[in-house]
Symmetry: C2
Subunit: 200 residues, 2 copies
Amino acid sequence: MVGRAPRFDRKDMASAALRLVADRGPQAVTVAAVAKEVGAPTGSIYHRYESREQLLAELWMDVVEGFQAGFVAALAKADDVDGAAGAARFMAQWTREHALEARLLLLHRRQDFVAGDWPAPLAGRAAALEPQLGAALRAFARRAFGRSDAELMARLRYALLDAPFGGLKPYVQAGKPVPRVLDDLVEETVRATLGDLARA
Amino acid sequence: MVGRAPRFDRKDMASAALRLVADRGPQAVTVAAVAKEVGAPTGSIYHRYESREQLLAELWMDVVEGFQAGFVAALAKADDVDGAAGAARFMAQWTREHALEARLLLLHRRQDFVAGDWPAPLAGRAAALEPQLGAALRAFARRAFGRSDAELMARLRYALLDAPFGGLKPYVQAGKPVPRVLDDLVEETVRATLGDLARA
DNA sequence: GCCAATCTAGAATGATGATTCTAGAATGGT
DNA sequence: ACCATTCTAGAATCATCATTCTAGATTGGC
């Protein structure tokens, strides 16, 4: 390996940025702030990343892919309402185990990380995200209920993603631990909104 | 009334700012953008508001108070699980009737409107918000269930506010109408998470 | 020991946007 | 008609960043 030994790498910068997002939001991720956090001059940030936009976009993508991979894996094992409840609880568990990432995912919007189009190197991964999630939900719907009409899909998104998301948010926002009762609430929501369909 | 007749008032500016928030987010509410939207020079904005921060803080406060007043009123009429379901549906209904305000409330965070402390003139209203909501929930808990312990309060917040909030968000985000099924989901959530308590 | 390649350092540059300032216009009481 | 008062107009300031640029340091292969 020819050339001066690097003192800072992308990982250092990305994790500094994640820390900044978690405690002061994406708008606090200025190039100067990341540089300071890492202990590097601003120029070095640009040696690793095209632009601030690219750094933020990559950070968001890594976190979201990480979450989604776990969620999709949990859902892949499910084939009935019990399995769905497990997938729903996944989000609460993931939040407990990934405090910083959870703050990024639950408290901020994608558009605060990626303003317009995705930077070219990420476009492919970005385009795959929603289809992967949709496919996992649809496949589960077919396995568990034998159908995947629009209303059922709306129910699944609500019970497995949106309601848990909403329930978690206040705790994550306040920086408080997610209480056990939330796992129960999420599970009760799944059973209440998907339970009848198994018979129907 | 002595003095030149005004051509722009706070209302014009606030509603221009609301429109900007709803379609491009709070960071798009620059003083220049508001001025342009209203058709005024930037100086005139400062004739009505201390600062951009004050304009945004006041906008957020007006919207949130508007929502909360309706919600608290709906909850005040409730004294059992059916009443709670009505209060929960209030949010979906309010979202349908206040498209712009809903985008502000559901898609953005308070901290994007008010960075640090509240501007002095709003501090009082800000301080009253959470206690008013807490009191309304606690009073309902006592009426409906005869108790108001921490777990029950967590359940109420989830069922009446956080879960509906989470369920609504994707539609509001996408600018799509909130489907009927969401009202059902919200109601089913309330019954599932609060229903048993009535007997206990 | 010399060189291309890879990095650190940190000072310029430029753009964006909030805020302030200077002029001038309209109003209505006197 | 005159004046204090209330506003509009829009140019000038200032601060905050992102980004670019110039220097210089290291490294390992030759």
